[in-house]
Amino acid sequence: MIAELGLAALWLAAALAALQMAVGFMAVRNERASELAGLIRPAAIVQGVLVALSFAMLVWLFAVTDLSVKLVASNSHSMKPLVFKLSGTWGNHEGSMLLWVTVMGLAGALIALVERRLPERTMNATLAAQGVVSLGFYAFLLLSSNPFERLPTPAAEGMGLNPLLQDIGLAFHPPTLYLGYVGLSVAFSFAVGALLTRQVTPDFARAMRPWVLGAWVMLTVGITAGSYWAYYELGWGGWWFWDPVENASLMPWLAATALLHSASVLASRDALRTWTIMLGVVAFSMSMVGTFLVRSGILTSVHAFAVDPERGTFILVLLGIFIGGALLLFALRANTISEGERFALASREGALVFNNVMLSAILAIVLLGTLYPLLTEAFDVRVSVGPPYFNPVGAIFVIPMLAVMAVGPLLRWRQDRVDRIGREIALFAALVLAALVLFGLLADIALLPLLGLAFGLGLAVASLLPLRRRKLGRTPLATWGMVIAHFGIAVALIGMASESAFTKERLAAVAEGDSATVGPWTIVLQGVEPVAGPNWTAIQGRLAASYDGDEPDILTPQSRNFWAPPQQTTESALVTRWNGQLYAVIGDRAPDGRWQVRLWWKPFVPLIWYGGLLVALGGVLALLGRLLSDLRHRRLAVRIAERRADREAIA
């Protein structure tokens, strides 16, 4: 019964999305339809409630493990811990699509409830565009991947959840990314709405900005968490693989970062109108392209999941309609949007434009590298594109971007002289040079990590300069946000460079009681024993690891076997110190009874993820700052209106 109710709610929500779309477009095209326009906001709100109900019912079905529902039977298991039963709801194709459309529906409802800045026509066009996007996903769910489908006869037991996904980090990683993608779909709807009504104003940018900021924060957290998960769960010792699935979340992040900055310029300076619109379209396009690449199985990936060409075709058609339509609209309309305020090259805007171009170039490089195997496969050549391409080619654009990131925030809006901030530029250059010389002489490091360390240190200091000569308590939250986010980038960069420059690796075959060393660590294999968990068995090594002769820490890396479905996973074991992490993996037993143990000493590697979290924190502060100042403006506007009404009443 619950499954049927969930399906019914989904159909109703889809019908409301259709209504929202049809009435919205009518109201934009034809002033006379404006009495119908009153339906749009309520439709968006009710649609959000219905789809959320539908999702809640699917969660319920997973919680009680209703094995008469096909999705539950094929992705869950009655013996799973409850938290993984719940996360199993979105740990599969249908469920994750329903989550996507649920978040979209709730976002639409929220816009309809709170957004008052946009002109009514642009608002209607935006909600109509949102209706189109949602409707595409509803069609996808209802016609090709119904999450509520029943089995003819209930299954005796479920098939389980991919053991790689049975991890608390991964239970919450996809929804975080999805919130990001969906936030960008809202930005996309805003961009399309503004193109339809040709009203690209600072108000439009201010309305769009919190959505972009929120989406960007979620993407940042999602990518950071995903990277850490891949690092400790996959057991290969790395933190970024340039895998298509990873790139699928990095590309929208790059576009969203550019969009964020360009929307800020539009909001505060009324410049970069077409550029902001373009980025709004591109950012969501990257989310969709990423989803398509991951779901269609068109690219081979270490994470390959939910592979199904038929679904791939469906997403491709949606892509064609949404993105093709938006880009067509852009080509036809962008001419009629005037460029807005002009600014000198040496100005805050100039620096932001420069970095936007760099970000776009990096995005193009990642996109090209991700699609390149697809291109060559068309000519029957199988290649894989990895770090040897992405790292150096990306660095060409990352390095100038870091330099401008360091000094750009010190420039004034509209027009400035570079020599005014000569001292700050000199400080940054001196720091970078000093680090280059110091590390270049002291350690034998490759060029890229060396540059990363130097620019990271320079940026770390320079990013704090905007706080100078300010009363810290009275500095706007948005400024704090910018400073912390830029500082976070520097921290992450230092972590990446240091991991790459100083990591020590050791592959040893050790008998019980023997020891191996890696960097400053001495590791003794105390024993290997079988252990059992709720739904797996494993062999577990007991390693005593001591840093420089200190009291040893005990590590227990495992090689796990799950039985539903049968699969093997590697559980690495970590010791974190202030100056880095020891990473241990247990492997096979050699014929002579010794065990293969892989050990890595990674100095300062946690900085990568601390940096990511700082970037996200910066985004949260900026978002809070914007929301608070919006609230203040709104109150002010109300007070002014009241006063005017009073005055008129007296007159």
Binding site: E157, S296, L316, L319, L371, L375, P530, P591
Partner: protein, 174 residues
């Protein structure tokens, strides 16, 4: 100026065309073991049940091709493949079993219930052999030639349609 506005759409159309073309191409989803074509590594497994014979890599190097079946009594697809293994056995194929993380009494119960197509079964309590030959799950079936070289890997349960394939691979390995 205005032609530049069409560039994004043009680039996107190229992507769309490429993706559409790739979607129509057949895909090879097979994740093969890196050990195919290699000699079996050294191993020595104790018998799975009292009175049976154990399995070592030397078992396979007597000039006769065999199947090596990785299974377990706790594995549901192994029940589904049991009749097809029996039909292979009836056609004169020797099947050596490796039971993964299993208990003798469970193995005996499974064989009593679903038939015993194996000439011998070794017990792999730590998944050593499974890891060593590049098997990623249960069940899996390998064709081993007379020199003990892995010639073919079948992932998942053996279905009726796989029986002739395995027979042909065994013939080729002769």
């Amino acid at each position: 100026m205005s032609w530049r506005l069409w560039v994004p759409l043009f680039v996107f159309a190229l992507f769309l065309g490429l993706a559409a073309y790739q979607l129509t191409q057949p895909k090879d989803e097979f994740v093969a073991s890196g050990m195919v074509g290699e000699e079996l590594p050294y191993f020595n497994l104790p018998p799975a049940m009292e009175g049976g014979e154990g399995v070592t890599n030397a078992t396979f190097a007597d000039g006769q091709p065999r199947l090596l079946n990785i299974w377990a009594s706790w594995c549901l697809p192994c029940i589904a493949e049991a009749p097809h293994l029996e039909s292979l056995e009836r056609q004169g194929v020797e099947i050596v079993g490796v039971a993964i993380r299993d208990r003798p009494e469970d193995i005996a119960r499974f064989l009593a219930q679903h038939g015993n197509p194996y000439s011998r079964i070794g017990r792999d309590d730590l998944s050593e052999v499974q890891l060593a030959i590049g098997s990623s799950g249960v069940p899996e079936t390998f064709v081993i030639d007379g020199e003990g070289v892995i010639r073919y890997q079948h992932i998942g349960d053996v279905r009726a349609s796989d029986v002739p394939v395995l027979l042909a691979e065994l013939e080729q390995a002769r």
